[in-house]
């Protein structure tokens, strides 16, 4: 497996080198994209295909909008990009002479032709509004298209504000399909997805290429009366491209009808949910679909692993930061407090009481109080963790110091060691096992509690755990919980080494 990947990688690099070497004789082709995920992926598809077809490609990604891209295309700053029929219709309506109809795709294609732009056939998917249901429920009720909903008036709808308000959406939809449903609520789009998952609603509106469709296993109901406006994607390219780089233009035509909604949704999901790079997602798609071998990083088991590793490294570093800083501060504060407690009975009881009270404050409450002081991010979390780590250390320092036999203290006194020297040379070394026991407890609690960092934007292992709890995803929870547990073990082990190193062998008795 590994060696196979290595070969692929080497080949990939090789082809890269080759392509660079031949760069001079190659036609230069530029493609563009709008600033949303789907468009960027489509732009990368054009980029890869062009490269494969021997062009020297450039992808001007995430440009400012339809107008920018269109003007760049007409001017020749870019040679091709992907747009949607709905948008194109609007665009053309202002460009063509009055009286010319641009309603069908054929109309559009004709109009484009006059502007020296080739509009390809549909790429294959329609990114528009639709209604969706959980696949399992739709299956059970035998619903595949919107008309089928008519037979199930008990279904609850949760739809977004926009869908509710748009003239071409909910205001007309029930009439068009004669839907009898009474329970129709507007709600946040994301909450609606969760509502579906928890079956508190059964139908929601969505975009046909929403990444969440795959994630939540939804079925997109067929718009069998053609109610929703169509937003089919098509490639727009300059006519001269076919002359300058015929192979590229040819290759782009291969995209016609190549990407269905599911494929597009899948790619978007990979970017949005799995955080893959658009270019890699596009490359993977082409390699599979067209049997190409565009080199890419970040897909396949190795890449999965790398991506996981990347995220893991990030949360680990964040978590370590929270733990290291707060624990260090806590140790540096709690040991002196413990010493003071042991020195003076009344003061000691007070300190222990105060530290105990701090410990009872709920983490959310501490965080709430910290925000005005530290804002969001790591610092309030560190402050909270700091407070939570004090008690075990203070108490065990106190206990360790007060349990030293009187005779030993007397020996030190009588030797003429001062208070501070006695503390440093005799008391602390003797109390060390107890202190370290407290530090270990504090460290473990700290590692566990540091997951609250996620509440307040400090990241750490709490982030996947929170997401996991929200999405009821055990694997995601484990992605946070397992490393947290491991970290706790490592921290414990680390302090065991400290213990072995710094606790005098003279004290290491065993039962």
């Amino acid at each position: 497996m590994k060696s196979l990947l290595a070969v692929v990688f080497v080949l990939g690099c090789a082809s890269w080198l080759c392509s660079n070497a031949q760069a001079q004789e190659k036609p230069k082709v530029r493609v563009g994209s709008k600033s949303f995920t789907e468009s960027v992926i489509l732009g990368d598809l054009l980029y890869h295909l062009g490269n494969q077809a021997g062009a020297d490609m450039e992808h001007l990604s995430e440009l400012g909008g339809t107008q920018v891209l269109w003007k760049a295309l007409v001017k020749g700053d870019i040679d091709a990009y992907v747009d949607y029929t709905g948008t194109i219709q609007e665009l053309l309506s202002k460009l063509v002479e009055p009286g010319v109809e641009v309603r069908t795709e054929a109309d559009m294609r004709a109009a484009m032709d006059k502007l020296d732009i080739v509009m390809t056939d549909r790429v294959g998917f329609n990114n528009t509004y639709a209604l969706g249901m959980r696949d399992a429920i739709a299956e059970k009720l035998g619903i595949t298209k919107i008309s089928d909903l008519r037979g199930h008036p008990e279904l609850k709808f949760g739809i977004s504000d926009e869908f509710m308000e748009r003239n071409d959406c909910w205001r007309q939809l029930p009439a068009k399909y004669r839907l009898p449903h009474k329970d129709v609520r507007t709600m946040d789009h994301n909450l609606a997805y969760r509502g579906l998952a928890h079956n508190s609603i059964q139908v929601t509106d969505l975009y046909t290429t929403d990444a969440e469709i795959e994630f939540y296993k939804l079925r997109v109901l067929e718009d069998d009366k053609g109610f929703f406006p169509t937003y089919y994607s098509v490639i727009l390219m300059r006519k001269d491209l076919a002359k300058r780089a015929p192979k590229v233009a040819e290759a782009y035509l291969k995209l016609e009808n190549a990407i269905d909604s599911k494929a597009m949704t899948g790619m978007t999901a990979k970017v949005r949910l799995d955080r893959l790079l658009e270019a890699n997602v596009a490359a993977e798609f082409l390699n599979e679909k067209m049997n190409l071998s565009i080199p890419y990083q970040g897909i396949g088991p190795l890449a999965e692993w790398k991506r996981f590793l990347g995220r893991f490294t990030k949360t680990t570093l964040e978590h370590l930061f929270l733990v290291a800083v707060s624990l260090t501060l806590a140790i540096a504060t709690a040991i002196p407090l413990g010493i003071l407690s042991a020195r003076n009975e009344a003061f000691g009881q007070t300190i222990l009481a105060v530290v105990g009270v701090i410990q009872t404050l709920p983490s959310m409450a501490i965080l709430v109080f910290m925000i005005p002081l530290f804002g969001l991010g790591a610092y309030p979390a560190i402050a909270a963790l700091f407070f939570y780590s004090l008690l075990p250390i203070v108490r065990n320092t106190y206990a360790g110091l007060t349990q030293i036999p009187k005779a030993t203290i007397e020996s030190a006194d009588v030797l003429g060691l001062g208070r501070r020297a006695r503390l440093r040379l005799v008391e602390l070394p003797l109390a060390l096992p107890s202190i370290l026991s407290g530090v270990k407890t504090a460290a473990v609690i700290n590692v566990g509690t540091a997951t609250i960092g996620a509440f307040i934007g400090a990241g750490g292992y709490g982030a996947p755990i929170l997401t996991g709890i929200r999405l009821s995803s055990i694997p995601l929870i484990l992605q946070g919980a397992v490393p947290a547990a491991l970290l706790a073990l490592i921290v414990q082990y680390g302090f065991s080494i400290v213990e072995r190193r710094f606790v005098s062998p003279g004290l290491q008795s065993r039962l």
């Binding site: 009588v414 003429g416 062998p505």
Partner: protein, 243 residues
């Protein structure tokens, strides 16, 4: 060196020390003897400041001992207790060298002094790098003596310092310590239950009993002129091997 004026001490309703006025002179070796529980250790612990007397004043070298100066003064005293009172987390060597190192002595000097003392007390070299729990009772006691001698203090307070030493080591160490104390003019106060030791060491032997000084003088004087029957019996109780 020490001047006690009407010093007394009780634990609960047990009066361990009745108001006592006594001087310990510079350069003199005093041996305290007396029945178990009569307050010998308590007296030493008062001198070294581990116990506060209930009443009375104590002058050390002419100045009263106070909480403020006690720590400084202690560096001029060596105090040995029976089981050594060693720090369990330090090796014998570290126990002996602790204060000197803390006061900033050069490591080589510490090492030399420790080894000199080991010689004096006849402590085997191997024992030096063991922890207290790993050496024999007699060895621990010698480490305790070494630690007290380390800074070459002006006063030695010894509470049954050689009770666990074998006769030979004890004989030699008695000899050596007396020589040191005599030549360097050190003051010493020693508690012992061994009359031979008391006779050998004590410029003055002080018999305590019932919380007061019952009799004092050289041991021969006590043997010859005991104040009372009890002193006589006490001094002569020790069994002597018949040869």
């Amino acid at each position: 060196m020490f001047s006690l004026n009407n010093v007394s001490k009780s634990f609960g309703n047990l009066q361990v020390l009745k108001p006592t006025t006594v001087d310990f002179h510079t350069g003199e070796s005093t041996v305290l003897i007396g029945p178990s529980g009569c307050g010998k250790s308590t007296l030493l612990r008062i001198l070294v400041g581990l116990i506060d007397a209930d009443a009375g004043t104590i002058l050390f070298d002419g100045t009263p001992l106070t909480v403020q100066n006690i720590q400084q003064q202690r560096q001029r005293m060596g105090y040995v207790i029976q089981d050594g009172g060693l720090f369990p987390h330090l090796t014998a060597r570290q126990n002996v060298g602790l204060l000197a190192s803390h006061l900033g002595w050069d490591q080589a000097k510490v090492k030399a002094r420790v080894e000199e003392l080991a010689e004096l007390t006849r402590l085997p070299r191997v024992a030096l790098d063991r922890y207290p729990s790993q050496i024999s009772g007699g060895q621990r006691q010698r480490v305790g003596i070494m630690r007290a001698l380390m800074l070459d203090p002006a006063v030695m307070l010894l509470d049954e310092p050689m009770g666990a030493l074998d006769p030979l080591v004890r004989f030699d160490l008695q000899e050596d310590l007396r020589k040191i104390f005599r030549t360097l003019g050190k003051t010493s106060i020693m508690v012992t239950h061994d009359m031979g030791e008391a006779a050998f060491f004590g410029d003055r032997v002080m018999m305590l009993g019932e919380g007061e000084v019952v009799q004092e003088g050289r041991l021969e004087e006590l043997i010859q002129n005991p104040t009372n029957e009890y002193v006589a019996r006490f001094i002569n109780a020790q069994r002597i091997p018949q040869s």
